[in-house]
Amino acid sequence: MTKVNRRTFIQATGVAAAAGVAGMPNVVLGASKKVVVVGGGPGGATCARYLKIFDPGIDVTLIEPNQHYHTCFMSNEVLAGKRTIEQIRFGYDGLKKAGINVVHDMVTAIDPEKKVVKTAGGKDFAYDRCVVAPGIDFRYETIEGYDEAATKTVPHAWKAGEQTVTLRKQLEAMKDGGLFVLCAPPNPYRCPPGPYERASLIANYFKKHKPKSKIIILDPKPKFSKQGLFKAAWKKFYGFGSDNAMIEWRGAQEEAGVVSVDVASKTVTTRFGDKIKADVLNVVPAQKAGKIAHVAGLTNDSGWCPVNLHTFESTIHKGIHVIGDASIAKGMPKSGYAANSEAKVCAASVAALLNGKEPPAPAYVNTCYSIAADDWGFSVAAVYKLARDGSKIMKVSGGLTPGDAPAEYYKREVFYAHSWYNNITRDIFGG
């Protein structure tokens, strides 16, 4: 399927290979090319696939505990009843078909000196380079009374799957006239427009099935992603700003952030001291890099992983690359598309480095769609290049859907959002 064989890829790196070994440096030099990818989400799966595309000679192993991955993107459509959970579920057959060794196990340690990944299953995987894409973990300690056990009844549903189903069932069981409270996280977090799309699509469901119900978003932030577009959509479809508003956003002041949760009564307390009792409660806590990033010592004081923005190699441990939400990709958001984009830059760099070449010139893109109502979607996009000094991934073009666009434009963006989903999931998981 690919037009990039190893020879063209090596040429594409722009570095002249030593005469006589250009075609197969690994064979001639006897160099080993083993990559272990930790995590099978958008970042990890894309990286594994593109390592094989850029250099089929690389031995790629992907380690992921789950048999399936549920994408966070479009999981809000599951909450709204527009899509089933099966429609956001992906397996790893596409990766296996691409020649990737997929292992279902939990990585428990990475030894950067011995270059070995260890798993809960007791296995050791030696690597020449390791790519870590663990996604996010939650700072439960920032909200009193909330922890992992509490997610059974008060889900965060910020990793799609079981909790998405739980929250959907709760919304379905809620009486008309009920209150849904969404506690949004502080920056930085996975999917910046996600909480606001979630509120929009749940309002879309309420409007059709439980029109007397309300939604309150409690937000520790004074502003949020695509704010103008969301507020305009809420006004148009959900009475935002009126006495009869279905969505209320409390976030103009820092005080609206949630500091404690009483799980049993589904009551939250804000920093200001307001107490709000919800019928359905969704708490999305502050976030940090996924657990293995901390265990492997790849994080700094921020709780995220500092990386070289050209290769995504950790600035803490050589030979280990970190991509996706867990990395500090200065200039890019924590989005599924960004993870997919970073994975490709990382894969090209890793393939080059394993062949003794300089990493090729990078290119990055982010596109992100949000759906706010039936036939009403909008997007943000950016094309990026790396600053020569490596300090930042700089936006060279992009921007938001214009606020004054005609209705037809927003309608087309829903079509494009669904197409985007079909294509990016094929790009991530193959098949």
Partner: protein, 210 residues
């Protein structure tokens, strides 16, 4: 360790301050943009497009079009038209501005080399049947070989995604997007004799070519 590290940081900070000063001096008071790394290969650039357009530019639809297997000249025209605003778009105008002419050329050549994968989509068999002779009569002169031609700036229509074809024709007919004189004449003729149903039939015909 802190002593030495602090020292290094101080030096780095000083160097940065000096660099900033000289950068500002260079830019005559304007905001100086940092130098960027350019020269990404066609494969690297295209990998970043495939996230939305599908592996090798073969879209899974329903609305994002296939780009793999199109004529290079057509693809270049599209990108430049999006960037200038001459061709209306939703997201592509914002994205196309991020590429230099040279990058667009490389991308177009890359996608022109890919295999055209006809969209597997539902179509109205009755309308498609009605559309076949209409396409032959009104479109075939340019969109040769039943819309399969990918040369001389002519886009492939056979097996393109139907919602995309509808969006594109809606923009042409509303005047948001300019048609060539030749196309305008023929579309007008088709609309005059067969109306909107005739146009839909033509699009269903092209969608049926899988």
């Amino acid at each position: 360790m802190p002593g030495r590290r602090k020292h290094t940081l101080l030096l780095a900070g000083l160097a940065l301050a000096l660099a900033t000063v000289s950068a500002e001096a260079d830019s005559h008071g304007g905001k100086k943009k940092p130098e960027l790394i350019s020269g990404a290969s066609a494969e690297m650039l295209a990998a970043q497009c495939d996230g939305c357009h599908g592996p090798n530019g073969a879209s899974g639809g329903p609305a994002i079009p296939n780009i793999g297997g199109h004529d290079a000249e057509f693809l270049m025209e599209q990108m430049k038209g999006f960037a200038s605003g001459e061709i209306p778009s939703t997201i592509m105008g914002r994205i196309a501005k991020g590429y230099t002419d040279d990058e667009i050329k490389r991308l177009a050549a890359h996608y022109a080399k890919q295999k055209w994968v006809p969209a597997k989509q539902k179509f109205d068999a009755g309308l498609a049947k009605m559309g076949a002779p209409l396409a032959e009569k009104y479109c075939e002169k340019c969109h040769e070989d039943g819309g399969r031609k990918a040369d001389e700036g002519i886009p492939v229509l056979a097996g393109q995604w139907l919602p995309y074809l509808h969006f594109t024709m809606a923009d042409f007919i509303s005047g948001k997007r300019e048609m060539t004189k030749k196309m305008k004449k023929r579309v007008n003729k088709l609309m005059k004799s067969k109306g909107e149903k005739g146009l839909n039939a033509v699009l269903e015909f092209y969608a049926s070519q899988q």
